[in-house]
């Protein structure tokens, strides 16, 4: 186990380095001068002032020099300062990370709450009307863009129910406020994920239910519910957990549009604006952090997989 963990951790490093390099190069390939963008259209500078400003921003050196410089600072944990606001990138990220994390978690919870019962019902009553309805519902959830669903939810809630989208407050300040502000966004995100999950739950459960040990359990006289809860479901959930891991990674960075619509100050919006404003340190920092979290999450999922599996096989 330790060796597996160690090799996996070591394998992380080239991946993270690769991501960093790709981001570094990619964002500098975007046409547009970071400094000029910062100044906007209203200010005219002399060439000397431009040079000075470029030095201040650290964009005057050739790319490979900037790269080496950046790497050496990363190693020391210094993610740099935003070109735009002069705030520490790390501070910005740490401020927004909780929201992104909470939103991702809530969305997954919502997805599970929808997907698991429906998936079970669908698998158990295979090919019945309920199964068909659930699968159609699932397909609809898959085909609707989550931001579309979000926009519809806002419309319905504000126009017909007169309930407002709450302003985000951190969990430590007011948990109820946090839940309220993330309610609609997590519904919008969760619906699409529920659709994906439901298919996995269903197919995985179908496969498990056909196995011998299930017949053994039933033969032992256990009630259907007990069979499901103690034998079938835990086994079926294993591949589902893998999918959850992937979704978590997607959610951490991919909720940009939802954040725009629901006015959530998450990492998606931070990095989107940073890309548009050529705020290189912010983009690099955020992508690195998100990638790190994604990779770590998947590592945890894999470890869980490896840990759970042999135990259940002997159950």
């Amino acid at each position: 186990m330790q060796r597996y963990l160690a090799t996996r951790l070591l394998a992380l490093i080239p991946v993270l380095l690769g991501i960093l390099t790709v981001v570094f190069v990619l964002i500098r390939l975007i046409p547009g001068d970071a400094v000029q963008l910062f100044l906007g259209t209203q200010v005219e500078l002399t060439p000397e002032q431009m040079v000075e400003l470029r030095r201040f921003f650290g964009v005057d050196k050739p790319m490979h020099a900037q790269y080496v410089d950046y790497l050496s600072r990363i190693v020391r944990g210094d993610l740099g300062v935003s070109l735009r606001t002069s705030r520490l990138v790390l501070d910005d990220i740490l401020q927004r990370l909780p929201l992104s994390f909470q939103l991702a978690t809530l969305a997954l919870v919502v997805a599970m709450l929808i997907a698991v019962p429906l998936g079970i019902a669908s698998a158990v009553t295979r090919n019945s009307a309920l199964d068909v309805l659930a699968r159609i519902g699932g397909l609809l959830g898959l085909s609707m863009p989550s931001f579309w669903l979000g926009a519809m939810l806002i419309l319905v809630f504000s126009r017909y129910l007169h309930i407002s989208i709450g302003q985000y407050v951190p969990l430590t300040q007011n948990p109820l406020g946090t839940l309220q502000s993330l309610y609609l966004p997590s519904l919008a995100l969760g619906a699409a994920i529920a659709a994906i999950l439901m298919r996995y739950v269903r197919s995985s459960l179908l496969e498990v239910l056909g196995q011998d040990y299930i017949r053994t359990a039933r033969g032992k006289g256990l009630r259907a519910a007990a069979v499901m809860l103690r034998h079938a479901l835990p086994n079926a959930m294993i591949p589902v957990i893998t999918v959850l891991g992937f979704q978590m990674g997607y959610l951490l960075g991919g909720t940009v549009v939802i954040e725009e619509i629901f006015a959530l100050p998450g990492m998606g919006r931070l990095v989107l604006q940073a890309i548009f404003q050529r705020d290189y340190p912010v983009v690099q920092g955020v992508v690195l952090v998100i990638a790190l979290l994604f990779v770590v999450t998947n590592l945890v999922v894999d470890l869980l997989y490896a840990w759970i599996d042999p135990r259940i096989r002997y159950a």
Binding site: G18, L26, L139, W148, L155, G249, Y250, V257, F294
Partner: protein
């Protein structure tokens, strides 16, 4: 049920492709022709699906928009399948340093938040149909690489591969005759999922201003433009939205059906 429903998917897809191909001949109005006096007209009368704020016919735009959406979907997934399965197959079959390097490369792409990668690529290359295909294609390549590699690994270890080699069959033949048929099923499932995601990605990119640019209609940009009229003139967003849903549904049904057909375990 599956065997009854899959043909429906096929019908939908074929109909969409036909529409896309014939669109220029089917449209009652020029998609760019503006009729300011008919701005935001509701469906009915001269305009089956109503008009947008410039007075352009929504029905015509949905028809022509199908071209962009389907082209983006098919070609980006084709790119992803081509790149991904090549990488994955060779990685799984030959193994060695190529396996390590290429899969690390796939990991790197995969660890990027998909939408951010697409945004960055579009920002670098500029907004054009080709670039959309490239961007979305790259984003979905790792999935296919993984699937292909897993299948290749399973098959490689089977005895008949050793037997085939002993008989003197070249690697290419082995890959062609034995590996590819075995990866078909998981790849097809992945394809149907990716096709849907590709269309949705184009839509999200349009919302952020990086997808297909006006005045060229695409379902994605019609959806995002239509958002501001959700209360005033919902038909602007509803019809492209329905079109997206219909086509995605078609892909999924067809994909499910094909998978069930091809996967021996579930027979």
């Amino acid at each position: 049920m599956r065997n009854r429903v899959a043909p429906i998917g096929l019908v939908i897809i074929v109909a969409s492709l036909a529409t896309a191909l014939l669109a220029p001949r089917l449209v009652p109005y020029d998609v760019r022709a503006m009729a300011p006096q008919a701005s935001l007209a509701p469906p009915g009368g001269q305009h089956l699906f109503g008009t947008d704020e410039f007075g352009r016919d929504v029905f015509s735009r949905v028809l022509v928009g199908s071209r962009v959406s389907l082209v983006v979907a098919f070609f980006s997934v084709a790119t992803a399948v081509g790149l991904g399965t090549t990488v994955g197959l060779t990685a799984g079959y030959y193994g060695g340093w190529w396996d390590g390097v290429s899969m690390r490369g796939m990991d790197i792409i995969f660890a990027f938040p998909a939408i951010l990668l697409a945004i960055a690529i579009m920002a670098v290359l500029g907004t054009s149909l080709l670039n959309l295909v490239i961007a979305i294609g790259i984003v979905y390549t790792p999935q296919f690489a993984r699937v292909a590699r897993a299948a290749a690994l399973t098959v490689r270890s089977l005895e008949f591969v050793d037997a085939a080699r002993a008989l003197g069959l070249g690697n290419a033949r082995i890959i062609g005759r034995h590996l590819i048929p075995n990866i078909l099923a998981p790849v097809i499932v992945q394809v149907s999922l990716s096709l849907s995601l590709a269309i949705l990605s184009e839509s999200a990119l349009s919302f952020l201003g990086l997808g297909t640019q006006p005045p060229t209609p695409s379902w994605g940009n019609m959806l995002s433009e239509g958002r501001q009229f959700l209360e005033l003139a919902p038909w602007n967003a509803v019809f492209p939205g329905l079109a997206i849903m219909l086509v995605v549904l078609g892909f999924n049904l067809l994909g499910d059906g094909l998978r069930d057909l091809l996967d021996p375990r579930l027979r």
